[in-house]
Amino acid sequence: MKIDQSARYRASHEWARQDGAEYVVGISDHAQEALGDIVFVELPEVGRVLAQGQAFGVVESVKAASDLYAPLSGKVVAVNGALQGDPALVNKDCYGTGWMIRLAASDASQWAALMDAAAYAKEAGKE
């Protein structure tokens, strides 16, 4: 299981990483491995406002469909369009080219309250 040390995590396996004034969001290596081959990713429209913990999309693997939950409240400022043509990017590079959405957070304190890499490693290791 690879863990991006610079990201913070939700127990439902989404990560968020600070990038300038915004946050990039995706799912963890642990999650993509558990899901297996990812064949479709449904993402929200740019401009949609999300509350922390709100479902913002669906990731479909060969096995099953799983909801994606916003790790932070905020407005979607970009989505990764490359996932439409190549959803397997989430399997190949979940912290890089397999990112999902970019958020303009409405409450920066939420990020600090997420699990850090060490806490998430412990949490994901329990499964």
Binding site: E42, V58, V62, N91
Partner: protein, 363 residues
């Protein structure tokens, strides 16, 4: 791993389901399918008995021939689908794992009425079954059988020696690729499995173990049914498009019911749907496009379903999201615009020609 008909089966190997599918299409896939059952039927009355119980014409088969058939009840519903092999002095019938016990009971109870002229034996426990499928499958197996495999015709079988083991080789399969299915003594399974993989490595023939998920996507793309989905005890072969597997020139269990269904016309039909905007799956509702649009406009999202998906997935070779569904005959025409409800939202679907992938041996 997942439990399947009492067996612990891998959904996928470390290769991954999509890559396993693609390996089978480009080279060789190895399938551990010991869960499949085998019934052996013999005796002086066996020919007539088998002919009456299975739907397909079988009495014209030569020794060695293998043929697809259905097993129907008196109402014409599909108890199972089978591969029937005619061997010297016996019939060898391959049945689905989940129906093995009920199929055996079905055959056995009817054989009793034959007064000792028909014997039915369940050979599943002492028989192992491996499928070797893909464009280079015959080449791989020929290296281990002195060329005996490649000399066997499509939908025929032969007794060969593979790595010194006696194997009944059937040039059949469930992927849409050429290749075959091997029946041999169960205690030789690890040896033969490893031998096939090692020979692939030695000869530079890419050969990988394939799990259940890729087995399903391969058969789905190639338009083959999976019992419990496109056919089942709640589905008749006319609506599912399997009239071709029923020989109306002979007598068989379920024939009278099927003749009635043919005369009245089926109430629904199995169609292929190509879907955009999501992954269709088993159980998802199918609606007309108009109803879906009206539902979306009314923001209810709801629309009266006209049918249900019985299978659906991402198809790795044709790179499409597709489903099989039963819909009213009026909506079954190629090109009909429908919708599949995915996570509460109607997504565009179009009736397309099946199969999505024409089997290699039919091209």
């Amino acid at each position: 791993m997942a439990p399947f008909a009492g067996y612990d089966m891998p959904i996928s190997y470390p290769t991954g389901a999509v890559e396993e599918h693609l390996v089978t299409r480009r080279s060789v896939g190895l399938f551990d399918i010991d869960h499949m059952g085998q019934l052996e039927i013999s005796g002086s009355g066996a020919d007539e008995f088998v002919s009456r119980i299975v739907s397909a014409r079988i009495l014209d088969m030569a020794v060695g021939d293998a043929r697809y058939s259905l097993l129907l009840d008196e109402a014409g519903l599909v108890l199972d689908d089978l591969f029937v092999y005619r061997l010297a002095g016996r019939w060898w019938i391959v049945v689905n794992a989940s129906n093995r016990a009920s199929d055996f009971a079905w055959f056995s109870s009817r054989a009793k009425a034959e007064g000792g002229r028909v014997s039915v034996v369940d050979r599943s426990e002492d028989t192992y079954m491996i499928a070797v499928q893909g464009p280079r499958a015959l080449e791989l197996m020929d290296r281990l059988s002195g060329g005996a495999v490649g000399r066997t015709l499509r939908f025929a079988s032969s007794e060969v020696a593979m790595g010194g083991i006696p194997v009944l080789f059937g040039r059949t399969g469930y992927t849409g690729e050429d290749g075959g299915e091997l029946f041999f003594p169960a205690d030789k399974a690890p040896y033969l499995w490893e031998l096939l993989l090692a020979e692939g490595a030695r000869a530079g023939i890419e050969a990988k173990p394939i799990g259940l998920a890729a087995r399903d996507s391969l058969r789905f793309e190639a338009g083959m049914p999976l019992h419990g989905h496109e056919i089942s005890p709640a589905i008749n072969p006319i609506e599912a498009g399997f009239k071709w597997a029923c020989d109306f020139e002979k007598d068989f269990v379920g024939k009278a019911a099927l003749e009635r269904i043919v005369a009245e016309g089926p109430k629904r039909r199995l169609v292929g749907l190509e879907v955009t905007g999501g992954v269709p799956r088993e159980g998802y509702a199918v609606a007309t496009r108009e109803a879906a649009l009206a539902g979306a406009a009314a923001q209810t999202g709801a629309s009266a379903p006209v049918g249900t998906c019985v299978a659906g997935m991402f198809c790795p070779t044709v790179k499409k999201y597709a489903a099989n569904a039963f819909v009213p005959p009026a909506l079954a025409k190629i090109g009909t615009a429908l919708a599949v409800v995915i996570h509460g939202k109607p997504r565009e679907a179009v009736v397309v020609k099946r199969p999505l992938y024409v089997p290699a041996y039919r091209r």
